[in-house]
Amino acid sequence: MARMIRLFVLGLAWLLAMPAHAEGMVHILLGDPGPAYQEAAEAFRAGLGGRRPLRVWNPAELNAAQLQVLSRGGDLLVPVGLKTARMLAEQHGGRAPVLTLLLPRAAAEQLPWPASLPRNRVSHVYIDQPAARTLGLLDMAFPNLRRIGLVVSDENQSQVRQLLQEALRRKQELVVETIDSADGLAPALRRLLPTVDALLLVPDSLAINSGNAQNVLLTTYRYRVPVMGFSQGLSKAGAIASVYSSPAQIGRQGAQMAVRWLHDEGELPPAQSAGEFSLAFNARVGRSMGLAMPDEADIRRKLGARDE
């Protein structure tokens, strides 16, 4: 009898320990071998904490046939990076839910998911930062930079709307130059820089990207206009401050979303930026421009940023 009771209790404990959504596993799809992708995948794995079987697919293992097979099942697929996400979107043939990591919002919105895949089965942890966070950093760290310039192309219109609303709320003035070709960048900067206190960089395939960031920084410095960047690299290169989420922070956010979804067994949480973020300052450039650099620890504390 005692043995029966022990078996019953153990069985009950096992049942209680089981997640509500008992089926399937999580597949992290690493189409790129770079350390940033590994970092995001590792953080995702750690965040999941063994709640679900997890497999990491390496670039060599991922091919069109494999992706088609995976997408027909019910497992959660987590492509890391745009290249892998696009490959999956092109090969997706079933109803497997997808949570992408590290994608720029503008690029994520362009992915060619099949019509048969319900949109609530696709979500993202963007690499971009929300408008409130970006403008909040400017507002808090450099309160006298009120007139802020922005150069974007049409792909960033939704982001611009959010920034305009946020700027209005914070009584900042956002001056937007929209360009329709890469050639339009130099004249746009020439028009904008003499009239603004700071330039906000928003990643944009035509306006600001890793290919032209160096030249944009040189130009802004000639005008002595401080730049607010969107990556650690930009702050190192010359932007006075940047707010960004590291791959690990994005991986952890992805894991939290996956855990929530596994519990609820419903729709994937909506696409979002990572809740965790970091700040990078370039005090040397700021001081050279005559700016009073803020107390970085104080700003981090006020904005709730993590030290990386």
Binding site: L185, L217, G238, V285
Partner: protein
């Protein structure tokens, strides 16, 4: 550059995008970019600079509405700006002189100081105000950075990169006193070669009661060539020719006539940054100003005086900047220079007189601790026309308890080398007949015995820079004490009265110069900047100077100067700027007493798009109050009246 700022031209940077801009990806966020704004590219933060520095940037230049370069210096605390004639401008920081000998003036690191008579002939610069990126004005001695003559201050004008002005610009200005300007600029190029060409015409009627018209034709060129990894070459050249009306119908020995002006320069800059923190800069330039002036007289039919004057400067220099770790930066270099002058009237010789000089400098910027910084610099110079080698050292200690407050304690010694007219002058007017044959030689007015030493200044100063960004406030304060010895002063032969006329004899004796003078002065300068609202900026400038002079000039600089400037951005892309100046009474060197004066200037401009072109229209009012006496006590000749100007410019 740090410590010593040569014009660091951005020879390797141009807006360009990666070929066929591709899709955005996470790589744009994760890319490990190289350090673009390296320490050697950055200008030294004001808080780390060993001097008080005022920056007049592009935005302020445009907001001010000033079309005359010298007017911009009204925005600098303690800077006196005046005009002796419509075309003869004067800018002095202390020691207000007709030919300000004691300030160094540079354009892109090229000294435009006149080796013949000193100062800068501002009206002869082949430079458009529209081609200026910013102006850095150092208030106080700076000889440790720029050598002798950076004695009471330094003006450094930095011109615009062709990439920043790409396209075509047309600008016209018109206004009172027959003022008219027309400018055309083209700039463009590719990543390898960027070029800018500016052409201009300028005319002005000067003062109402003076024969002081100006007419100038101006050409300037700048080409920046990228030479690959971290290297670049910049070539500049300029030419200004024109006429300056001079003389007076009522003066029998100086009848109305034109001075013909021919000013030209070329400049080559080489820059190489082999690796971050190691930068080599080399510079070679030539400046030449040739003024030709036949002064008609009523002394004999067709008789005239020839007062031609040629001033030239050849200069080559090399500078090496290096970072010796995170907290130590150094700059080393040297120069060779040859000055040349030619004038029968000023130097009693038809040959060119030359004077060579050589110098070496070293600077160190050492951050002892996060809040403590030391700037140490020395300039060693050997000038052919004075005995010995002279050393201009400077040491400043900076305490920066927070990012908002910075204190500076500095001590320096500076020299001012006498100009060629002081060391070798022999000013004698010779009356020539219409064929150029000498008729009569007047008594020489100046004969230099040539026994001059450089003037020497010992300076101590305390500086403070404070920022309160949440209140939109910034303060720059300088408190200083200066002792100048061996002041070069005009003297009469010994035992002769102050007017050099012995025993009431109407015939004067020639004046000479000696080093017998000295002076002590102390004062304070401040500039308070406030931005109470995003669209409003206010500057309050004030300068006080106490002079205890022991040479012929007792009140050579205004004891007080104040300025209030308000800039307001109005709806509809309209900019308004109001500037009010007040200068207390004083006596410029060699001039009569000048009463205190006020001046109110206004600038209103609107920017808009017209058929896809950027257009800017402006209205500028100068001296909106009553007339005042400008620079010289000659009334009514130097009465400055109210003037209005209209500006229009268009990119196309």
């Amino acid at each position: 550059m740090v410590i010593r700022k040569l014009a660091v031209l951005y020879l390797a940077g141009l807006i360009s995008v990666r070929a066929g801009a591709g899709e955005l990806s996470e790589a744009d966020f994760l890319a490990d970019l190289p350090v673009v704004l390296t320490a050697s590219r950055l200008v030294q933060p004001l808080a780390d600079a060993p001097n008080a520095v005022t920056i007049i940037d592009r935005k302020l230049i445009e907001a001010s509405g000033y079309h005359t370069l010298t007017d911009l210096f009204r925005l600098v605390p303690g800077m006196f700006v005046g005009q002796k004639t419509g075309w003869f401008h004067n800018v002095s920081h202390g020691f207000v002189d007709e030919y300000p000998h004691r300030m160094q003036v540079m354009v892109d690191g090229r000294s435009i100081y006149l080796p013949s008579i000193g100062g800068a002939r501002w009206d002869t610069l082949p430079l458009a105000v529209d081609d200026i990126e910013r102006i850095e004005v150092t208030r106080g001695p700076n000889a440790a950075s720029y050598g002798a003559n950076a004695f009471t201050g330094t003006i450094h004008i930095i011109t615009r990169d062709p990439a920043d002005v790409a396209g075509r610009l047309l600008r016209i200005v018109g206004g009172d006193q027959r003022h008219g300007e027309g400018w055309f600029r083209w700039a463009g190029g590719d990543e390898r070669l960027r070029q800018r060409v500016t052409l201009g015409l300028r005319q002005d009627g000067g003062f109402v009661h003076q024969n002081d018209d100006e007419f100038s034709r101006i050409f300037s060129y700048r080409g920046d060539l990228a030479l690959g990894r971290g290297g670049g070459l910049s070539l500049q050249a300029g030419l200004l020719t024109g006429t300056r009306s001079n003389g007076k119908a009522s003066n029998p020995t100086d009848q109305p006539h034109d001075q013909l002006v021919d000013s030209r320069f070329f400049q080559v800059d080489y820059r190489h940054e082999a690796e971050p923190g190691r930068m080599l800069l080399a510079k070679l330039y030539y400046n030449g100003l040739d003024t030709r002036e036949d002064v008609p007289t009523l002394l004999a039919p067709g008789a005239y005086f020839d007062v031609d004057l040629l001033s030239e400067r050849w200069h080559g220099e090399v500078q090496y900047d290096l970072e010796l770790g995170q907290d130590l930066r150094a700059s080393l270099g040297g120069y060779l220079r040859r000055d040349g002058v030619r004038s029968q009237t000023y130097f009693n010789s038809s040959d060119k007189l030359t004077a060579g000089s050589a110098g070496a400098f070293a600077h160190l910027e050492w951050r002892l601790a996060p809040a403590w910084l030391i700037n140490a610099g020395v300039f060693l110079e050997d000038y052919e026309l004075v005995d010995g080698v002279h050393l201009s050292p400077r040491m400043t200690l900076h305490w920066q308890p927070s990012t908002r407050h910075a204190w500076r304690l500095g001590v320096s010694q500076a020299y001012r080398n006498p100009v060629l007219f002081e060391t070798s002058g022999y000013y004698q007017l010779t009356l020539l007949d219409s064929a150029g044959t000498p008729l009569f030689a007047a008594r020489p007015f100046y004969i230099s015995s040539g026994n001059l030493e450089p003037e020497r200044m010992l300076s101590q100063e305390i500086g403070y820079l404070g920022q309160w960004p949440e209140l939109g406030l910034g303060l720059d304060l300088r408190l200083f004490r200066e002792r100048v010895s061996q002041v070069v002063d005009v003297v009469c032969p010994s035992g002769v009265s102050a007017d050099c006329k012995p025993g009431g004899n109407p015939l004067y004796l020639a004046r000479d110069w000696d080093n017998g003078g000295s002076t002590r002065q102390w004062g304070l300068e401040f500039q308070l900047k406030a931005q109470p609202r995003a669209a409003t900026q206010v500057w309050v400038n004030y300068a006080f100077l106490h002079i205890d002079s022991h040479f012929g000039e007792r009140r050579y600089s205004p004891p007080q100067q104040a300025g209030l400037h308000v800039q307001q951005r109005l709806p509809g892309e309209i900019e308004l700027m109001l500037s009010h100046y007040w200068v207390s009474a004083f006596e410029p060197i060699g001039q009569g007493p000048l009463p205190a004066f006020r001046r109110l200037d206004l600038s209103l401009s609107r920017h808009f798009r017209w058929f896809g072109r950027n257009v800017r229209l402006g209205l500028t009012g100068q001296n909106l109050g009553g007339n005042y006496v400008e620079f010289s006590d000659e009334v009514p000749d130097n009465l400055y009246d109210r003037r209005w100007y209209l500006h229009a410019q268009m990119d196309f």
